[in-house]
């Protein structure tokens, strides 16, 4: 808590790096000796600027927040939002804010980031001219986009192309105007830039290079007209400037700290400025005459500064500026000396104009080391090439094998992660080294998910996931940790392998599978798992005699067993929509059989306390009233939650109820490795909580955003956005593929969230498979799903209509008496199981 006797540490700027510094200070317990106070010009605490563009694909300000819940309160850190610092008085060691408040400091940290550079064109202050840096900027762009037809981005660098994507996604006619002869001149070379240009043009973005803008004036058809020096012009409704960034060093200038020639606050290796009680970190800082416009170097500076403040002697030693991005859907990567500027450097190039792939590696004069690389159109080798460059690893004999396609299916020559030194940085976002990962493996983290949790590796941009996986596997192998992924002692296979065996060999029964591919009799692990696989493949009635013996009691009696051996009954209520007549029908059944009634968390009604022998009669009545099995008992599609949507809600933009019902009826009865829950919300307010579901659909003005792999329950996980603005048909197509891909490849009892966390390549890989069909299995997945849909039969209807089946629903084989162990008492007007003290003496206990 604030303490008047403690000296103040003031941090100016609560951006990405400022926030990281605060976290590092707390970790080093500096907040226990100092009062820490931070100021931000922006109206909200730190958010993920790197992911800023995801604002256009449905992420909201809250989703981007970088501040852990309760962070400021718990650590007693003062946060002043919307309050810029306007002056620093170094003699008095005081800062003054916009509001006129003064605060003294013992130590001051400048984390003011940078500001977008707007070329000094006449007319640049006209309305509907924007920059691309903050959430407010994007909100304004989004609002303007709705009333515009044409949008121009000035600047064809990395951020400019991101802005262009945003405009394109708003369906504007989009232009990119670049002064240099090519796009992304900093990161890629001539050929790479050319290829990038043709790919982006193919997507409908018009690119104008070597264009020098002269002025912006009134247009004829549109608001603005940009006149170029060469006499040409362009008309547009809105303009986004993205012509580079400049370090925000205004305060440092005002208080006379040493600055670089072209701006930037000069810092030493400890991130101290020319005044040792003032530090500067992040994009505003200039180290050895370099500005680092990426977040990872800023994080390293934050770490160094925090350690130095805490009394350590950490030093900043520079940072690698390699990048891998997806711009307008095109993979682009740049590593090290991409332009071969090193003396004697030599290049190997590979260009495929048909597929649109360009790769270049740069090697040193002696051809011993890799200096850099450029990848456009396919950046799969990024991780490997980056590690080779960073760690001075020896080149393979045939250097070109690093970039040539491997048609023999042998895949990448591979880095051989064993060759990496312990210090090699594997995840740059979170500064995780190979050593850190090995240590985590040593302490028992043997899955990708566990590694992520222990080290935070691959939890930010995800670019390092494949490499993290390779290190993990190599380490496990080395430690001799045998990772036994066999499903159980009866099958030397994983669930995924069993799925393939069943499908490829057309195996229809457990007996056949265990005879040919397993041993023994099976158990309560493999039997239900195989039953589920058989159902996912062939969708036969799950209680056929040969399948019935495999099922858990819930599936065997098509109801959920409760603590006293009775069952619950859950009819399907698609999308949660129900007529009064159906409600009455449920009420009447509940009343007749004296069942406990409760609204579930899944927008339907659960009837508890049914005895085994009552189930068929109860279901007969429910079916007569138009109900179907709700599969609440199965590892199967459960519910599709909906919100009321555009039909009633004043905010709704699509009919979420109809879509939810359509989806629920489509996938009802589909069996999967674990249960599946879905939801559809009618607008971004998200009343159906779709982002906590395995599949979540959220309406947009233009269609539907599709989210996947969310989870509530024990370990909540926010779903990831898979695709945006889909029409109805594509939405269903993607869900078909996604679900089937999960069903094929997941482990037993692995929810989609855990499946994704363990999948190499993560959500990007899922997107490639589902949306881009990178494995060429999309049609197969859709057909498999269609055959499940076509073979759907309500299990309860089939059961009640079959005398033989009904017979099994009896507690005793030789008597129609009920189980005397089942006893109820009344509470709040309904039944509940009697507790142990309330139970009448149960005769069966006497036999012991």
């Amino acid at each position: 808590m604030r303490d008047a006797h403690r000296p103040n540490i003031i941090v100016i700027g609560n951006g990405m790096v400022g926030q990281k510094l605060l976290e590092n200070l707390v970790e080093a317990e500096v907040h226990k000796q100092f009062n820490i106070l931070t100021f931000s010009e922006e109206p909200r605490p730190a958010y993920d600027r790197v992911a800023l563009s995801s604002f256009f694909s449905g992420n909201r300000a809250e989703d981007l927040s970088l501040v852990p819940e309760g962070f400021f309160q718990q650590n007693g850190i003062g946060l002043q939002l919307s309050e810029a610092v306007t002056e620093i008085d170094r003699a008095k060691k005081e800062v003054c804010t916009e509001a006129g408040n003064r605060y003294t400091y013992e130590l001051l940290i400048l984390a003011t980031g940078s500001y977008p550079f707007v070329p000094p064109l006449p007319g640049r202050d006209r309305k509907h001219c924007y920059v691309y840096r903050t959430i407010e900027d994007l909100e304004a762009i989004a609002a303007c986009g709705k009333q515009s037809q044409i949008g121009v981005v000035v600047g064809g660098g990395l951020l400019g192309l991101e802005a262009a994507k945003a405009l394109k996604d708003m369906d504007l006619e989009t232009h990119v105007v670049e002064f240099a002869p090519r796009l992304m001149a900093v990161q890629v070379d001539e050929i790479g830039g050319q290829l990038l240009r043709s790919k982006i043009e193919a997507l409908g973005v018009q690119v104008h290079t070597q264009k020098n803008s002269k002025e912006i004036v009134d247009g004829n058809q549109h608001l603005h007209r940009i006149n170029f020096v060469d006499g040409e012009h362009l008309e547009t409704d809105m303009i986004v400037f993205s012509a580079g960034i400049r370090p925000q060093d205004a305060l440092a200038r005002q208080c006379d700290l040493a600055l670089g020639e072209r701006g930037g606050i000069v810092i030493n290796d400890h991130c101290q400025t020319s005044d040792t009680s003032i530090y500067a970190i992040g994009e505003c800082a200039l180290w050895q005459n370099r500005i680092f416009g990426l977040v990872a170097p800023g994080y390293q500076m934050a770490k160094v500064a925090a350690e130095h403040i805490a009394g350590g002697s950490a030093a900043f030693t520079g940072a690698d500026m390699s990048t891998k991005l997806k711009l307008l859907g095109v993979d682009v990567a740049s590593v090290g000396d991409a332009h071969a500027r090193t003396e004697g450097a030599r290049c190997f190039n590979y260009l495929d104009e048909i597929k649109g792939v360009y790769k270049k590696v740069v090697v040193d004069a002696k051809r011993e080391r890799l200096l850099g690389a450029v990848l456009v159109g396919d950046a799969e080798e990024y991780g490997t090439l980056l590690q080779m460059t960073l760690n001075d690893m020896p080149l393979p004999e045939n250097v070109d094998s690093l970039i040539l396609p491997h048609y023999d299916g042998s895949g990448m020559t591979g880095l051989g992660v064993d060759a990496l030194p312990e210090s090699a940085q594997i995840c740059s976002c979170n500064n995780v080294s190979k050593g850190d990962i090995c240590q985590a493996v040593g302490s028992g983290a043997t899955t990708l998910a566990a590694i992520k949790e222990a080290t935070k590796a691959s939890t930010t941009c995800g670019g390092c996931t494949a490499l993290v996986g390779q290190v993990l596997n190599a380490e496990l192998l080395k430690l001799g940790v045998e990772v036994n992924t066999d499903i159980c002692e009866h099958f030397p296979h994983t669930r995924q392998e069993l799925y393939h065996i069943v499908r490829i060999n057309n195996i229809q029964t457990f007996a056949e599978l265990i005879e040919k591919h397993g041993k023994g009799r099976g158990c309560d692990i493999c039997k239900p798992a195989v039953a589920s696989i058989l159902a996912s493949c062939w969708n036969q009635y799950i209680l056929k005699p040969e399948h019935s013996q495999l099922q858990d009691t819930n599936d065997r009696f098509l109801a959920n067993m409760q603590k006293n051996g009775t069952y619950s009954v859950v009819p399907r209520v698609p999308g949660g929509e129900i007529t009064p007549d159906k409600l009455i029908a449920i009420g009447e059944v509940a009343k007749k059989y004296d069942l406990y009634t409760k609204i579930t968390g899944g927008q339907r009604i659960d009837l508890f306390g049914a005895r085994l022998e009552q189930l068929p009669a109860i279901w007969e009545e429910l079916i007569a009233a138009g109900f179907e099995s709700g599969h609440a008992y199965g590892k199967a599609m459960r519910t599709v939650k909906s919100c009321v949507g555009s039909t009633w809600c004043r905010y709704g933009v699509q009919d979420s109820v109809s879509m939810a019902i359509q989806i629920e009826n489509r996938y009802r009865g589909v069996r999967s490795p674990h249960k599946l829950k879905l939801a559809v919300s009618g607008c971004t307010r998200e009343c159906a909580e779709a982002q906590s579901k395995d599949v979540g659909v959220i309406a947009t003005e233009k269609g539907w955003n599709l989210y996947v792999c969310g989870n509530g329950g024990m370990k909540p996980r926010h779903a990831d956005l898979l695709a945006s603005d889909l029409d109805d048909q594509t939405l269903i197509q993607y869900i078909d593929r996604f679900l089937m891909f999960y069903i094929r490849t997941a482990d037993r009892l692995q929810r989609t969230s855990v499946w994704l966390d363990n999948l190499e390549g993560g959500i990007d890989y899922v997107r490639q498979v589902v949306c881009e069909d990178s494995l060429s299995i999309a049609t197969e997945l859709e057909n498999d799903m269609q055959s499940l849909i076509d073979s759907y039969v309500c299990e309860w209807r089939y059961t009640v209509e079959n005398e033989e089946e009904r017979k099994r629903f009896s507690h005793f084989v030789n008597s129609s008496e009920p189980d005397s162990g089942v006893q109820f008492v009344k509470e709040r007007g309904q039944i509940r199981p009697a507790s142990t003290d309330e139970l009448q003496q149960i005769p069966t206990q006497a036999i012991n």
Partner: protein, 113 residues
């Protein structure tokens, strides 16, 4: 000590690799049929750890070669031969003699004369 055999049901009434529950003298007895053979096992139906009469509805299988039923409530495994609980050595359930005679399933109890 002699055994008295009483018919409780027919073999064909029990699906291979599943169980059923027979009422005998107010006792609930779980009977399991292993494979499609005439090999039967009988144990008490009450699951002492789950505290309900449900063992007959468990999955039959083997764990390290030992024939077991897994209780549907909390998946405790009970040996069909000895009644021992695999997860908790202090727990044991009652087993009963059982046989098949001409397709009739007969339970053996100690006659008390």
């Amino acid at each position: 000590m002699t055994l008295k055999w009483t018919q409780v049901c027919l073999l064909e009434e029990i699906l291979p690799n599943t169980g059923c529950c027979a009422l005998y003298n107010q006792m609930q007895i779980a009977i399991f049929r292993v494979d499609s053979s005439e090999q039967l096992y009988a144990v008490q139906n009450y699951d002492p750890l789950g505290e309900a009469n449900v063992l007959s509805r468990g999955i039959v299988g083997d764990v390290n070669g030992e024939l077991v039923v897994a209780s549907p409530l909390y998946k405790h495994h009970y040996s069909l031969k000895t009644g021992k609980c695999l997860e908790d050595e202090t727990v044991q359930i009652q087993t009963y003699p059982i046989r098949v005679e001409n397709g009739r399933v007969e339970l053996g109890t100690v006659s008390s004369h």
